[in-house]
């Protein structure tokens, strides 16, 4: 099963690294300073460059509304994993170059004046891969959204699960989805925003399950790596395969939203989706309890906040 290292884009190293960036889509040379000002969207062709987690938070939340939670969560090395490099060295290197502790940041903030829980991923930290820390942050953001009954917004940017934590990374699919499923059943909305790329185990867990799934234009969104898909099993791939528009056409993305409209869409959606209290059941029909997942799961919500910051098994 020969999986080759897939390249999402032409390697950046090929572009002038400092002052200019060449747009991988239209080849236009873009002045970096200018690119930052236009939300890192190519002014020529609309290509959406990746955003860092802090930039994404700044873009979407009301100014100065963000309050980070669990900033100190950090990976351990449960497998003692060494490939060409040791896993802890990879983590340290990523921390040093990104200023982040891991590939996700979460906290509370407001969007159009309404409080939300928000978790954003950063591809520049080990490809945005989901290990125990990312899984924990997503789960905590969902549990916190459930406890406060406020919408949860997750912005994904990830190549998938983090191999260096083995099946413990795989288990983060369950951990995150178990938490967002409680959110869903309790009538608290999850808005999933998929940016480039949202693939593998991240797409195959919470990112695919938003009550509303938004995607930035032309983002790579898929399950299997392109080489695997195109390789020994299948021949030619369809046009636009695993891009936002492909996902939209196949019914898995509600809306493709240009980055310049993303905040406005979220303002509108958060207002339209905000959880409401349902009318109380009629008390004179005591023997006919209303079918109300809400009460069951809301009651659980009090108990799902982890007692300890440290949860290591094995």
């Amino acid at each position: 099963m020969p999986i080759k290292l897939p390249s999402f884009r032409q390697r950046r190293d090929a572009y002038p690294p400092d002052l200019w960036t060449q747009c991988p889509s239209c080849q236009e040379m873009l002045f970096n300073k200018q690119l930052e000002k236009v939300l890192r969207v190519c002014s020529n062709c609309g290509h959406h460059f990746r955003l860092s987690a802090p930039a994404r938070l700044n873009l979407l939340l009301d100014p100065d509304s963000f309050e980070e939670c669990d900033a100190g969560l950090q990976s351990l090395d449960p497998l003692g994993f060494v490939d060409l490099k040791a896993y802890p060295d990879r983590v340290s290197a990523a921390q040093a170059t990104t200023g982040l502790r891991d590939a996700a940041v979460w906290g509370f903030g407001s969007i159009g004046g309404r409080q939300v829980a928000m978790c954003v991923m950063d591809f520049s930290f080990m490809g945005g891969s989901m290990g125990s820390v990312v899984g924990e942050k997503v789960a905590r953001s969902a549990e916190a959204a459930l406890a406060r009954r406020i919408p949860l917004v997750i912005v994904s940017a990830s190549g998938g699960a983090r191999m260096q934590e083995g099946t413990l990374s795989l288990m983060q699919l369950v951990k995150t989805v178990a938490a967002t499923e409680r959110l869903r059943l309790a009538g608290v909305p999850l808005i999933s925003v998929m940016s480039d790329p949202t693939t593998g185990g991240v797409f195959a867990s919470f990112a695919a399950l938003g009550d509303v799934n938004l995607a930035e234009p032309n983002a790579l969104i898929g399950f299997a790596g392109a080489r695997v898909s195109a390789g020994t099993i299948q021949g030619e791939l369809p046009e636009g395969f695993q891009r936002s528009e492909f996902l939209f056409n196949h019914g898995f993305v509600d809306r493709i939203v240009h980055r310049s409209n993303l905040r406005d869409e979220l303002v509108k959606l958060v207002a339209l989706l905000a959880p409401v209290q349902l009318p109380a059941p009629s008390s004179d029909n005591g023997n006919i309890p209303a079918f109300r997942p809400l009460s069951f799961l809301s009651a659980l919500a009090e108990r799902v906040i982890p007692e300890s910051d440290e949860a290591v098994r094995g």
């Binding site: 190549g159 699960a161 983060q172 797409f203």
Partner: protein, 343 residues
């Protein structure tokens, strides 16, 4: 890959006869793990239908996802095991080449997982416990699979299993291949056969990405700690079921009998628990899986990387982020692999 799946691999030492003659683990840990991977992939291992024929007194297979099709790579139905009615879901490879091709080498499409969900929901409504048998190289990675939402199907199946209000016992019987396995492997109790493996990515895939060559698959298999015993130590698996000497493929009836005993014992225990406690314990089980610590909140130091752009930025007044709030981190590293995989 197809060569491996239909069992035409010329690799020495992986034939049944060899394995039967040589059940002892090799002394070299890498070779020992790799031998287990080969055992887990052995084409003669009993799959869901073979096991049910030996375990169940009655079995009625249900077909179709009620959306698009029926996936022969996943078997689902109603069974009676030891006077207990259960819903069974499991992957199904074929032992012979034709059957293996018809079953798509046991690699499910979205409709397979949607069939599984439909039948598991039926089990929940009827109050029947669920037993799953997991043995899959991975979900089908082709274009059709992506078109019909393989990721969504896996995600939704996982989500469903975290909240199904009925006991779930899952048995990893062979290859626990990533998300394609996990989609039907969320349970109150996760068992694994002695020679089963479970991993976040195939060892070949892991080696291709991290070692940059699939030839390092045995090294990747060792590094990922994918054997049943390793998974037990990690807490991902709750109990390892011993196999007959030589491996499960050498004695289907004995393997089935051991599985049956273990499954029935766990079902009996789970059925005594109130449903809300059961669901909460299942949530806690997965909530606790992971390895992290909490450090103080001092930011990690960002090393200076002086360059023309930085100097220009300083000249123009402040960092991009400070100036307009939308900048990417200016000192992003480019040397990490994208970590893309078919999880």
């Amino acid at each position: 890959m197809v060569e491996r799946l239909i069992g035409r691999s010329g690799r020495k030492g992986s034939s049944d006869a060899d394995l039967a003659r040589e059940p002892e683990a090799p002394a070299d840990p890498t070779a020992a793990v790799w031998a287990k991977v080969q055992l887990a992939r052995n084409l003669r291992r009993p799959r869901t239908l073979e096991l049910l024929a030996l375990i169940a007194d009655d079995f009625v297979e249900l077909h179709g996802d009620r959306f698009f099709g029926d996936d022969p790579a996943i078997v689902a139905g109603l069974a009676r095991i030891d006077d207990r009615r259960v819903v069974v879901v499991g992957q199904q490879k074929g032992a012979e080449t034709d059957e293996n091709i018809r079953r798509n080498f046991g690699m499910p499409h979205p409709e397979g997982y949607r069939k599984a969900m439909r039948v598991m929901e039926l089990g929940e409504r009827l109050g029947l416990p669920i037993v799953t048998f997991v043995d899959v190289p991975g979900a089908h990675p082709g274009a059709e699979s992506e078109e019909r939402g393989i990721a969504e199907a896996i995600a939704r199946s996982i989500a469903l299993m975290t909240r199904l209000q009925t006991p779930i016992v899952t048995v990893i019987t062979g290859e626990g291949g990533s998300g394609g396995a996990l989609a039907i492997a969320v349970g109150d109790v996760v068992l694994a056969l002695e020679n089963a493996v479970y991993s976040v990515i195939s060892p070949e895939g892991c080696a291709s990405i991290l070692w940059r060559t699939p030839d390092q698959a045995p090294a990747a298999a060792l590094a990922m700690r994918m054997t049943a015993t390793d998974q037990l130590q990690l807490g991902v698996v709750d109990e390892v079921i011993p196999e007959p000497r030589g491996g499960a493929h050498t004695d289907h009836p004995a393997t089935a009998a051991t599985i049956k005993t273990a499954v029935v014992r766990h079902l009996a225990a789970l059925e005594r628990r109130p449903l809300d406690e059961l669901i909460e314990a299942r949530y806690r089980r997965y909530r606790a899986l992971g390895a992290f610590t909490t450090v103080d909140l001092e930011p990690v130091a960002i090393p200076e990387r002086p360059g023309f752009a930085d100097r220009l930025r300083n000249l123009l007044g402040g960092s991009a982020r400070a100036s307009n709030g939308t900048g990417s981190n200016p000192t992003r590293s480019h040397d990490e692999p994208p970590a893309r995989e078919e999880v």
